[in-house]
Amino acid sequence: MSIIPAPIVRFYHRTASPPHFYSLANKLLPWLVGIFILLAGAGLYGGLYLAPTDYQQGDSYRIIYIHVPAAWMSLFIYVIMAVMGAISLIWRMKIADVVLISSAPIGASFTFIALVTGSLWGKPMWGTWWVWDARLTSELILLFLYLGVISLYGAIEDKRTASRAVAILALVGVVNIPIIHYSVQWWNTLHQGPTVAKMDKPSIHIDMLIPLLLMATAFKFYYAIAMLQVAKVEILKREQNMQWVKKLVETKA
């Protein structure tokens, strides 16, 4: 007796098996790439060409179309990693481990991009490359959290043990996510407060908002593409002695 319908349970169990996940990833990837190109193309065209120039910041505000989606992704991916860590610790699902560790370098890159673009944006707007304000510092800490996950995984030789270790670490580190998210509201600092996700009405013009949301969705798809690519390699590495991988190599050769 379960409240979850049977097809969903079946889908869940099938996705948990590495060969099935591998072929599913292969099937999904072309679609994801197609949607990503459409969304990113539309978003960039809208953001860099159609959107009006900001009356205060001029054209330099347009870095927002990279900076903000990257910053969102940096938090989003860490939460995904923590969820995967929980799944892997509770149900011992191999694929969750793979997704967790495949997401870490991508999340770290997004965090790095958010920091670099923020710094480039800060120079003309604030007159400085870097300030030790709450949002910037906590984003930097997020980068360290990602690097901690990556280096812990690299340091433990037995990859099964390493997967459990990073699952625990990702779960523990997730306490920092609310701190980063709310840092601009809790501490009144140089970095501007949220302008998009406000309860009443976003304080950003609709012509600027639509490309931003397009870019944010495009970044999600990019993450899915990159993560599946890394995950495919990781699965092959882990399952290299399995029958299905050998068969796969033979048919390819």
């Binding site: 280096s151 433990i156 043990t161 670490l169």
Partner: protein, 224 residues
């Protein structure tokens, strides 16, 4: 052996072991004093500057001293196999780990409480802030041991876990550092610090309840 007597037996054993190796207890304290001493040499002996930096200097040094002492938390038990005995015992590992953390704090955190106010006076921290400094140390040094236990139990199986542990533990220490040093600074300026102290109390209870759980899970993984 009941759970309560096992709990106290572990604290007693760890304290006895620590007192048999007194040099190891003294090391974090000396480290703390030396790091604090480095600051006036590094940034210059301007009394105003040192006074302004005193809360931060004390807290950063305390953080580093506790972090360096973390390795001793499970290392010898891991090497001589007593950690495996704890895992095999019928008592919940979480409680035993909690006992070990308490013993670790008594050996490393408690001495800091004695030395830190003295160094704070040398750095010119206003006397009205000394009470707050002590209070933050009482509340927050146990948190450092508690959070640190997670990092150290993740890396105890590694031959060179020392550098990684700083990467794992320091990001998690940051909220403690922010609120503790901010409280001391505000107290030095004669302002109310209730909010910071309340948050530190909350962090203390949260980590006392939650930190032993992942630490125990990580130890099971490390010992395998």
């Amino acid at each position: 052996m009941s759970l309560v007597s096992a709990f106290f037996a572990i604290i007693r054993r760890d304290l006895i072991l620590a007192f048999r190796r007194r040099a190891e207890i003294a090391n974090p304290i000396f480290f703390f004093i030396i790091v604090v001493t480095l600051f006036p040499l590094g940034v210059g002996a301007n009394p105003k500057l040192l006074q302004a930096m005193a809360p931060g200097i004390i807290w950063v040094s305390a953080l580093l001293a506790v972090m360096l002492s973390l390795d001793s938390l499970f290392r010898s038990d891991f090497d001589d196999g007593s950690l495996e005995q704890m895992l095999l015992s019928s008592h919940p590992l979480t409680v035993l780990v909690f006992a070990k953390i308490i013993a670790h704090w008594m050996v490393t955190g408690l001495p800091l409480l004695v030395v830190a106010p003295l160094l704070a006076i040398f750095l010119g921290l206003p006397e009205q802030a000394l009470g707050t400094l002590l209070l933050t140390l009482v509340l927050a040094t146990p948190v450092l041991s508690l959070i640190g236990s997670i990092g150290v139990s993740l890396t105890v199986g590694l031959r060179r876990g020392g550098m990684i542990i700083s990467l794992l533990v320091l990001p998690l220490y940051i909220p403690v550092l922010i609120f503790a040093s901010n409280a001391v600074e505000m107290a030095g300026n004669g302002l109310a610090v209730d909010a910071q102290i309340n948050i530190l109390i909350a962090i203390f209870f949260m980590s006392a309840v939650l930190a032993p759980l992942p630490a125990a899970a990580a130890l099971k993984m490390s010992v395998n």
